[in-house]
Structure formats: structure tokens, C-alpha cells
Symmetry: D2
Subunit: 200 residues, 4 copies
């Protein structure tokens, strides 16, 4: 018997994604799966992915919610939209994903209410979180990935101000082994702070 | 609309598991989801969980492989076996999970060949990995969670000796925010090294 | 020949300090020596230690500046003042250290201008940094040890607002090996963010 | 008053060292000061620096032991020897430092017995530690900086076999803030494991 991973379950290796040198991402595997976990997605859920970039989280969310789910991804960069759409098709989840070119928060207006919203750290984070709340069902989850010191603090502060519950802060530092002649060198990746919370 | 997480998708909060003060675990959420991701499980896969403890990984694997999958969990501690079984039932995956009381590697002998094997770090790691290889299909994955400096190194060394391919070493350090009066204190969890590889 | 460490050079093992169960600290060795390094102390320098706690940084600074230097330590907790004074005497640096009972920033008023100020994270951090600036020579250094997400961000923001130069942010995560029967378990300590800067 | 750091105390900023593109180092400030701290140097001590590279630890050790101390540095790369010598002169510690071109462990033979030995991780680590022990006074300290998974484990194992006492394992992960337009991005440096012990 030979095992062949068939692309249909969450937890995708980084190198499986199509990339573009001008688009950041994909979010690294370890951060992707923790982000999806923090979103507590059920099969059939609707998810909004704000600032989808390469589409790593878009694809993972699509795999997690299954054929009855729906993902709305948005990015202000038209190249990111194209790369995300390519990855959506590579993983065969185009039946359940809409990728839109637009800028958050304005661009979120025609998206339906969702069970979860994924947000990359951004300068407009406070305004985005305010709009995100209007797009979330009660007890819906928001998950913010912050790479800046300031966006982590801002996310915690704004989510508390907006009345979100169970604000969870998880800082993740990953280093990965690189095989060299004399052994396994551990190479660090930049730490990321994942802030998640439950809509009131 | 109110979102209620229904227990049926991977990515389980730590506090959802039943625990016993004498049994270690559950493996923390962040480490669980990375471990499952590294195992590259497909729906319908067979998985062996060596040293299941509280059953955190057993349950996650069962949720990931779906109703057509099969999980064989083993622990030498009879209390761990009971706690794992309780969690298997709490999450409603008893249709696809067998929990056995026994000591690895001997106790693995009556388990079928699997698509993936999950192993906690242990003093007998080398011997266990040798037997694990006989239980893995070609290209099947082994994932070792090492909390000791020595087991991480030992896993890398033994997997290379056994001809496993794509040996991947991922060290994960997580700290989580605790809300106190004056702000968010970051509390560190012990780092863990996740070593995974592909059977030749 | 037998080497005996004689207590007179910086880099003190944690267990050498006298402690009190009601006083936090000492700051761990690794964080202490990085903090002192970031302060760029010369022999003969004057240093203010705000919130001295157990006195770990007070003693290290005193060892670093030598017999011609001067350290002014302050804590609002009278027990902390006593513990710091005991450690100052244990390490024989009472000739160059003044420990004062008082609350920052008001209590800093009768301290002389200093070459460096060390500050623990605190709710009044912005106000303290404003007063600290008046106590620093030109190009004098402030070093803030932040254990809260918010104090790290606040320190960076306030120091920039106050015109400090070369704002340096260093996040340090340390884990230490504990020898158990089967190997070396790595135990994590809470991460700390060390923010330092140069007065204009 | 203007503070000017005068190069005479330990804790040197990375950018103060002369470098060569073909020579690794300097060891980063945070790791340097922890390494020196773990060596528990007294004024007047003798220190051997094995694999001195750019000379960062050589200079720090020289600053820590003062004018009565002595540092013997060795590197098998002649360019490293030159860079180290240049840094020794830049910091004005040539009175107390000998830099030798040679390969450890053989090259250590004509060095005197020392209070402490600093060792970079290397493939010949076991053999080097055996010779190092013969160069250490009773209770003298060895400090190994390991960047490979395997050298950390090997150092712990070999030091225990050789009867060293108080084997201390400290894993240090540092990330540093980079100011970008939207805030402070945290950039990770590779983790390092510092293993130190006391000669019997």
C-alpha cells in the first residue's frame, strides 16, 4: 500500500500552494492550522477571509467547512486575488469559495453574515474589527493574525471594547530544522500573535 | 443566528477534554493541530496513536479521518486507557476508535498497517520507531512529539537510519495571554519538537 | 587549582539572591544580563532602578559600574526595599547603592540625573517614562522590561513620542533543561520584551 | 551631560565589531552576554575561546576579566584569526589576549590551564570536550553554544560522561523589532542552546 495525500483535508504543506513573488504568503502551515483551529469551524460554516494574500487560509478554511460551507475572500491587491483564485482551483474548492477584489472594511459590505472571520494584521485594524462584528453571527469567531507588536495589542484592546468574549491571545514561535552536513540547524521563523474572540 | 461549535471538526479546545490528574495531557491544542497536520491524514485513513494519554490526539485524528477512518490507540497505563475511552465517547467517535491497554512496541503487534503513526517521546523511542515502520504503508507518515532534548535528536537520527524520507523537524513555542488587571501577561508553555517523516 | 566565583562580576546565578515570597524576582539571570548590556553602562556610571523588587538588577548594575558608580533603587513595597538592601549587602555593594522606599514617578524627584534608568513594566509607564527622561543625561539610556503585551507596545510608543532615539525592541524567550530520569526536559519561562532607547 | 559608551565594559552592540563576510559572527549580543554570565568569570581569570570566529566572545571575555585576566582564542580559519585580532585591538584588549591560528583540539595543547573555556558547537565536540577538561581548573566552567539540535544533546551527554557537575541547559530565542511604516515587526533570530557545566 502506498499513501498519497489527496489534498482534501486541512493541514496543507506550504510548498503545495502556488505563489507570486509580489504577494505575501502563504501563511506558514503551523500558523494556518492554529488559526483554523481557533476559528472553531463546523462543516457547512460560512467564513470571511480579510486580506487573503496567497490564499493559504482561504483554502484551509474551505477544506475544513466542506462542500456545504462557503468562503468569502477579499484582497485589495489584484495579483493576490488571482493567486488565491489559482490556489482555490488547485485544491478543487471553487464550488465554495468567492474571491473578491476590494479593500476592507468597505469591500466587506456585500458579504453575508459569517460564522467566522479571519483577519491579517493591518493598520486599519480597529475599523475593520468594528465592521467585522456586524458580519458575525452571535458567538461567531474572529481570528486576527498579528505580525506587529502594535497590531496584537490593538486587536486585544479593540475586541474588548467591542464586547467580544473569551479574548484568547496565542503567541507562536516556530523554528524548523535544516539538514546540513554536521546535523540539524534550527532556523527561526518570525513569531506571530494569534488573537481570537467570540462575538457577543 | 448563534454559532455553536458542534464537536465534529478537528481543532478542539483543551478544556473540552475530560482529564485525570494522574494522566498527562491532553496535548495542547496548538501542538495537537500541528501534529495532525504533519500526519497529512486523508478521510478514511487508519492511524495508530502510541501512548495516547488523555486521548487528545486520538480524538483529533478520529475527527480528521471521518467516519470511514480507524484509530488504534494504546497506552500502558490503564487509567489513560479509561480517560481516552471517555473522551472518545464524549466526542462520539467510538465507531472508529479502538483503545487498547498495552505497552509499545510489543502491544502494537495486533494493530493493522496504518497510514500514519503518532508517537509521544519515550525512552524506548528507537525500538518503537523500528516497529512503527513495519506498521506503516509506503509513504505513510510517522509524527513524534518530543519534550526532551534527547528524544528530538534520537527521533531524527533513528528515522534517518531507518530510511524514512523528508524528515521534518519543527520546534514550537507557544505563550498564551492571561488577562490581569493591568493587561495581558504572556505565559509560556514548554516548547515541543515535532519530528515527522515519510516511510520509504 | 580550584575556581571559586567571588561575587564581584556581573552575571549572578538566580539562586544567589535572597528572596521573599511576597516580592517578585529576582529577574532571571538571562534577562538581567541582557538588560544590563542594553544599558551600556560604563565604570563610574549613575543608574536609577525603578521598581527594584528583589534587587537583582540593582546588584548587577552595581557590579557593572564598579566602586566609582552609584545606583539609586526605588520600590513602593517596603518589603522589596528590605530584600533589595539585604542583597546589596550580601554582594558587598552597599558603598554605591541607595535603596529608597517610595512610589514612582513622584519618588524619583530627589534622585540625581543618571546615565541609565531601568524600569519594570507598570500601569503608570507613560508617566514614569516622561519623568525618567528628565533624570537622564543626553544619550543616557532607558531600559524597560515588559511582561505584558500592552506595556511593550506602550513603551515603544511613548519613547518615540518623547523623542528617544534608537528604540530597540528585544523579545527573549528562555527555556531551561531539567534533568529527569529519561533525559532533559525543556521548561519554558515566560517571554519578556526588553525595550531600550537613547535619550535625545 | 552627554553619555558616551566607552567600550570598556561587557555588553557590546553587534555593530561595534569589525566583520568579514567569510567569517561567522559575531555571536549576537544577547547570546554573548548570557554565555559570559554562564562562565562566571572573575577579574583576573584565564579563559580559552575555542573557535573564536569574529572574536565577539573573545572581546567580551577580555572586558569581563579585566587587565589582570588572560584570554587564549583559537580558530582554524586564518581569516577568523585576523578578524578577531582586529577586534581585540579595536577594543584595546591586546594586552590580555592571544589569538592563535590552529585547529582544536590539537591546537589547545600549548594553552595554559584556564578558569573557563568557551566552545562553539562543532562536529568534533566530544573529543574537544575531553581535551577541554584537561585545560580546566577544578570547578572551572565550560560553556558550549550549540546551534544544531545534535550538538546540544551531544554536549549534555558528553559533559555528564566526563563527570562535569551542574550541567545547565539554556535555550534562548530572541526576536528583535524592526520599525516599519505601520509598526514594529518582530524578526526572529535562530534559537541557540547554551550548555554549561562545572569541572569536577
Amino acid at each position: 500500500m502506498v499513501a498519497i495525500w489527496n489534498y482534501k483535508t486541512p493541514g496543507v504543506p506550504d510548498e503545495y500552494f502556488l505563489t507570486d513573488e509580489n504577494v505575501p504568503g502563504p501563511t506558514k502551515e503551523e500558523v494556518r492550522v492554529i488559526t483554523i483551529s481557533k476559528a472553531r469551524l463546523n462543516e457547512g460554516d460560512t467564513v470571511i477571509d480579510v486580506g487573503c494574500g496567497t490564499g493559504g487560509l482561504t483554502v484551509e478554511a474551505a477544506l475544513q467547512v466542506g462542500t456545504q460551507g462557503k468562503i468569502y475572500a477579499i484582497d485589495e491587491d489584484v495579483v493576490a486575488v488571482k493567486v488565491t483564485q489559482s490556489n482555490v482551483e488547485k485544491f478543487g474548492v471553487q464550488d465554495r469559495v468567492v474571491v473578491k477584489h476590494g479593500k476592507a472594511p468597505a469591500g466587506l459590505s456585500d458579504f453575508p453574515v459569517a460564522n467566522a472571520v479571519l483577519v491579517g494584521g493591518t493598520v486599519d485594524l480597529r475599523e475593520i474589527l468594528q465592521i467585522v462584528q456586524t458580519k458575525l453571527v452571535q458567538n461567531g469567531r474572529v481570528v486576527v493574525n498579528a505580525i506587529l507588536l502594535e497590531t496584537a495589542t490593538m486587536a486585544v484592546d479593540e475586541l474588548r471594547k467591542l464586547g467580544f468574549k473569551n479574548v484568547d491571545v496565542t503567541n507562536v514561535s516556530v523554528s524548523v530544522g535544516k539538514q546540513i552536513k554536521s546535523g540539524t540547524m534550527m532556523l527561526a521563523r518570525n513569531p506571530i500573535t494569534i488573537v481570537s474572540a467570540l462575538n457577543r
